[in-house]
């Protein structure tokens, strides 16, 4: 929409004190503004401000895993806590050596394993946590446990497989033994 300025230019020139002016044509910008903001809104909404986020995981050197696990078991039995993530979101833990009397059930809620870890960190000098995910437990379970390590600031932890001792232990306790 173009408007021819109705005000005679001589009139305006007088008012503006003789400043030279463009011809009296003004463009109606409203529709352009509408469109610009429409596009702006579209791009704002369609832009994914999403950036992938993740947690860092540092694995030990492969050859080292066995020796390290043995070391931890032999020397630090009193300072070690073992978490066993089993299928169907079941979680068991024990401190020290795998004995039936030490095995406890827990869960992934904040009042479950987090409280356990907090108490463990509080009373242990150099806490070591072994995470033993069962082959059939869900990935979320592992991530939750790794997350709890960060939350409780446990620097020394390792992911390891469930040992034969622990499997027989679970069997003895009448817990359904998941097929390997």
């Amino acid at each position: 929409m173009l408007d021819i300025d109705e005000m005679p230019s001589s009139n305006r020139r007088r008012r503006l004190g003789g400043v030279k002016e463009k011809p009296g044509i003004t463009t109606d910008m409203n529709s352009m503004v509408d469109m610009a903001f429409l596009l702006l809104t579209f791009f704002m909404l369609s832009t994914t401000m999403y950036r992938p986020r993740g947690m860092e995981l540092v694995m030990p050197v492969p050859d080292d895993v066995q020796t390290r696990a043995q070391e931890v078991q032999a020397v630090k039995a009193s300072q070690a806590l073992t978490l066993m993530a089993l299928p169907d979101d079941r979680l068991y833990y024990y401190r020290g050596l795998p004995e039936a009397s030490a095995l406890r059930a827990s869960n992934y809620n904040p009042d479950g394993i987090r409280a356990v870890l907090k108490a463990f960190v509080g009373e242990t000098d150099k806490p070591v946590v072994l995470i033993k995910p069962h082959p059939d437990c869900s990935f979320q379970n592992l991530v939750t446990l790794l997350d709890e390590m960060n939350i409780n600031r446990i620097g020394r932890y390792a992911i390891d497989g469930i040992s034969q001792d622990e499997l027989t232990l679970l069997q003895q306790l009448g817990m359904p033994l998941p097929p390997q």
Partner: protein
């Protein structure tokens, strides 16, 4: 002194020009900043975690693992993808055509054995959704995932590897991928998660 005999209704005129300038500036910004999602190769429901650091948008190789344990690979930028495929062609003595390179550049991710890659690249983009991608072989006589990761590391020295597994994937499937990485001496990698609050329960 002069009085107007007819009082003209005063219509306030707002100069829209700066506003238009600004609006188009912002439009341009968002236009350039937008990276349109190119449709992910596989839908993965990421596990939730409190901890989380931002990943870089470049130099990133993502290994997606779906619920059935199929592995898919996606490289962050088109340039990196092209260089990656060039390496792959050199090593495996496959002469990819320019069209195939272009298709690979546009491909956000793939999960096919090497033998099917050309067929996938030759499929028109609109039909690619229907192309059955069985995942990159990890087990068996040839661990192709390992090959791809090695090539990616050679192509991009500063490569960061991320594992994007579904929350419900059985651990053994993720373990296969992690073992593949540790065997290649990729000991530091990232598990992609989505943020949750500290107080939230373990829920998915």
């Amino acid at each position: 002194m002069r009085f107007n005999a007819v009082s003209r209704p005063k219509t306030p005129q707002i100069d829209m020009t700066p506003m238009v300038d600004m609006a188009f500036l912002l439009v341009t910004f968002f236009l350039l900043a937008t990276t349109f999602k190119t449709g992910e190769v596989v839908g993965v429901q990421m596990p939730r975690s409190v901890a989380g650091l931002n990943l870089p948008m470049t130099d990133l190789l993502t290994i997606s693992v779906d619920r059935e344990g199929r592995a898919y690979l996606s490289m962050a930028t088109p340039q990196a993808r092209r260089a990656w495929l060039q390496r792959h062609g050199q090593v495996n003595q496959v002469a990819y055509t320019e069209e195939e390179y272009r298709a690979f550049e546009m491909l956000s991710g793939f999960g096919v054995p090497m033998t099917q890659l050309r067929a996938l690249l030759q499929t028109p983009p609109e039909q690619r959704k229907r192309f059955r991608q069985p995942g990159i072989p990890i087990k068996g006589d040839k661990n192709e995932l390992a090959d791809w990761v090695v090539l990616a590391r050679v192509t991009i020295p500063r490569l960061r590897v991320a594992v994007k597994a579904d929350a419900y994937t059985p651990y053994k499937k993720v373990e296969d991928v992690i073992n593949t990485l540790t065997d290649l001496n990729v000991l530091r990698f990232t598990l992609i998660t989505q943020p949750k609050k500290m107080s939230d329960d373990a829920g998915y």
